[in-house]
């Protein structure tokens, strides 16, 4: 048994961490968060060169053919640096959808362009990941799609969208195709705008396989990656809180010498430490332990969501009034963690799903 990262994985971690630390500063995040797209395009280009888009895409299509745990390691670094670039939907969920359910022609059309970073695909699966609200749904009538689908991720700059209709059929829709309207909704995290897709007799382009298992796997991977990103973001917030508590003096001593502050930091650290293993394991199980994959993803995201909320508010508290300002920029991490919590199923939703999965309660009707 070896529960840890391989040499190659440590290299991936180091190269992304190094690059992101060097490239991203607060001004860059601040500027991007105010922009319409919420995406730092030059940074995206730099990360394309590092292979970010093609992590999960097979080498046959120009990707690196890596596994979800490798992507999770990268997601942790993206969260740590609060990278203002799309990731979970376009570079994890979309390629998985094409790989699991796309025809060879669809794969050949999209995967190489995704792998190079030339295109991005938004994902609107909230109806399957967390249920539908106000009956928003997409109905397929004779290969014409009608309806409204909210909460599309990574969609503001996307060239296409992945959606699932009420029959569980996955479709790719091109931005700008007749009958497809994208409504951009600003979210608390300016680098993560949400979009609502309005479809009016839009041309359906179904993925080849109608597979509920594929939808489940895509959502599962998305959840794990969001948990990983929140983990990285929370670790960064703790690091900053600790550093600040060592510098800031009140009553003639560093505030970090007071137990009120010190113990809060210790609690954050204690809560966060096991989350790393929880996230690593869920990502590993995704590829290697089919019998444990579904449950471990639900437990990982639901737990990380809770720990993330605790750490994000506590780290701001440690900074006192400064933590509340825009000067420190901590709020960006706070918002990313809050954003991720609500996407692809919030913790209550996920725990209910975990109970159903284990047969503790009856499946949802």
């Amino acid at each position: 048994m070896f529960f840890g990262l391989s040499e190659e994985q440590l290299l991936i971690q180091e190269s992304f961490r190094g690059h992101l630390t060097r490239s991203i500063d607060l001004d860059r995040i601040r500027k991007t968060a105010k922009s319409e797209s919420g995406t730092d395009t030059p940074l995206r280009q730099e990360l394309n060169d590092l292979g970010l888009p093609g992590l999960l895409i097979s080498e046959d299509f120009g990707g690196s053919g890596l596994q979800l745990i490798d992507a999770a390691i990268v997601a942790i670094e993206l969260g740590r640096s609060m990278a203002p670039v799309p990731f979970a939907a376009t570079f994890i969920m979309a390629p998985l959808a094409l790989t699991l359910a796309g025809s060879p022609a669809q794969q050949a059309e999209w995967l190489p362009r995704l792998a190079s970073g030339e295109t991005t695909i938004g994902v609107a699966l909230a109806n399957y990941a967390s249920g539908t609200r106000r009956s928003d749904s997409v109905i397929n009538q004779n290969n014409r799609l009608n309806g409204k689908i909210p909460f599309a991720l990574d969609a503001a700059t996307a060239d296409a969208f992945l959606i699932a209709d009420t029959d569980g059929q996955l479709h790719l829709l091109r931005t700008g195709a007749p009958g497809v309207t994208v409504e951009v909704l600003p979210s608390i995290d300016g680098t993560r705008p949400l979009c609502t897709l309005h479809l009016e007799n839009a041309d359906a382009e179904p993925l080849a396989k109608n597979s509920p298992e594929a939808i489940e796997a895509i959502i599962r991977a998305g959840r794990i990656i969001l948990a990983a990103e929140s983990f990285g973001a929370a670790e960064e917030m703790l690091d900053r809180a600790v550093a600040y508590a060592k510098e800031r003096n009140q009553f003639g001593r560093a505030i970090g010498s007071f137990q009120a502050i010190k113990h809060l930091c210790a609690e954050m650290a204690a809560e966060l430490q096991p989350c790393q293993s929880l996230v690593w394991y869920a990502a590993y199980a995704f590829d290697h332990l089919p019998e444990d994959a579904a449950l471990s993803a639900l437990l990982a995201k639901s737990h990380m969501d809770e720990v993330g909320r605790f750490v994000s508010r506590s780290a701001i508290e440690v900074h006192g009034g400064m933590g509340y300002t825009d000067l420190m920029g901590l709020h960006f991490w706070f918002k990313r963690i809050g954003f991720n919590r609500a996407q692809l199923g919030g913790p209550e939703n996920l725990r209910a799903a975990a109970a159903r999965l284990q047969g503790f309660v009856a499946p949802a009707a």
């Binding site: 048994m1 840890g4 391989s6 508590a245 010190k262 930091c265 210790a266 690593w280 639901s302 503790f360």
Partner: protein, 403 residues
């Protein structure tokens, strides 16, 4: 990541399973929990079982053969395989008392050859029962301020003072004890680590009634207790360093998540079988939510333990990941107990094995005992100091009277 056993460990797991299948009829019915809750002398069956485990290398595995152990190379993965397989089979694991977990590692590292030869084998074979004389009424979290003193008289030390929270002192044969022997030295350098018999004249043990109603702790009073100087371990004035180095051995004693997993398993059964108004409790959304929250915490700690096992096996130095275990493990156990009590409702307050009740009333005992563990062995607050100061490198607490 590679969670499969490698060939050597796969073979070892098979060997452990084979041993269990062949010998499980010899295992005592008593669980480790029952000894924890109610310390008492070991039965003949427990001692024989323990001795068998030592012979086969499933207890005190790395203790050298010359001191009565199995003499295996340290392999934390094998240790974990043993623990997991015994748990899986529902067998009590090897004894894990203060003699085995604290005294033996201390003697191996700091003891004289004579001390090792004399005490290690009977200790690991459960023939000699030890208690630990560390805390005092005035020296709890600030242990180094202890005041039990010994003055020299010829070849002996003569001890006066008292200890408190001494688990099992009323049944122990021997004590390892921190005593201030060097009157001129400072706070930390004046302490020696002494071992002596609990039958020595001048020792009085008074049971300390605790909230569980069971006597598990004691106060121990020393009046002119005479102990030969040769029974100092590791040299005069070295007691503080020795006691601290022993704590480093606790790495092997990670928050044992098998306990938490086992209790959660029991709770699953309770949520299915307990009904309210004719419906299983799992259908209560709040109960269900609480259960899955705990399940996620158990899973997180279980996986964290696997990470630590890997780190230890690959020689990574102790770090913040180790320091959080006591705090998290004790808190989690207590939360699990609390949940079990809530599931049982009114039944949950019945106590001391009420025969008419279909669930044993042990959960209240756990609930109180585990609160004791949150406090004992370094309180949760001391753990947070350790995590912050050593793990996060935050400024230390002001310390007075530094030696």
């Amino acid at each position: 990541m590679d969670l499969a056993d490698r060939a050597e460990h796969k073979a070892f797991r098979a060997e452990v399973r084979e041993f269990i299948a062949a010998h499980r009829h010899l295992a005592p019915e008593e669980t480790a929990d029952s000894y924890r809750l109610l310390p008492r002398p070991y039965s003949e069956k427990v001692r024989k079982w323990q001795s068998l485990l030592v012979d086969k290398g499933y207890a005190s595995r790395t203790v050298p053969k010359s001191y009565g152990g199995f003499g295996a190379e340290p392999d934390i993965l094998k240790t974990k395989i043993i623990t997991d397989e015994f748990f899986r089979a529902g067998l009590p694991p090897a004894l894990y008392n203060q003699g085995v977990s604290m005294l033996v590692p201390t003697l191996l590292e700091h003891g004289s050859e004579e001390q090792k030869k004399k005490w290690i084998e009977p200790t690991i074979r459960a023939e000699v029962f030890w208690c630990q004389g560390y805390s005092e009424p005035g020296a709890g979290s600030d242990l180094a301020s202890l005041q039990t003193r010994a003055h020299e008289d010829g070849d002996d030390f003569v001890i006066n003072g008292s200890k408190i929270w001494t688990s099992s002192a009323h049944i122990a044969d021997m004590i390892f004890c921190l005593v201030r022997t060097e009157t001129k030295a400072g706070k930390y350098d004046g302490i020696s680590y002494l071992i002596f018999s609990m039958d020595t004249p001048g020792i009085e043990v008074r049971p300390l009634q605790t909230m569980t109603g069971h006597p598990s702790f004691n106060e121990v009073f020393f009046t002119d207790v005479r102990v030969p100087k040769s029974q100092v371990v590791g040299g005069r004035g070295k007691g503080w360093k020795i006691a601290n180095s022993t704590l480093a051995h606790e790495r092997g004693m990670l928050a044992n998540t098998n306990h938490a997993a086992g209790r959660l398993q029991k709770i699953t059964g309770m949520l299915k079988s307990e009904t309210l108004n004719g419906r299983p409790l799992f259908e209560n959304a709040v109960m269900m939510d609480r259960f899955i929250r705990l399940q996620a915490r158990v899973q997180a700690l279980r996986l964290h333990e696997m990470r630590l096992v890997t780190e230890a096996a690959t020689g990574k130095p102790r770090n913040i990941a180790d320091m959080v275990c006591k705090l998290l493990g004790c808190e989690l156990n207590h939360q699990i107990d609390a949940f079990a009590i809530d599931i049982l409702g009114e039944i949950g307050v019945l106590y001391d094995g009420v025969p008419s009740v279909h669930h044993d009333s042990i959960w209240q005992q756990f609930f109180m005992y585990d609160l004791g563990l949150i406090i004992g062995g370094g309180t949760a607050q001391i753990q947070k100091n350790i995590i912050a100061e050593r793990g996060l490198d935050m400024p230390r607490e002001p310390k007075s009277a530094k030696g």
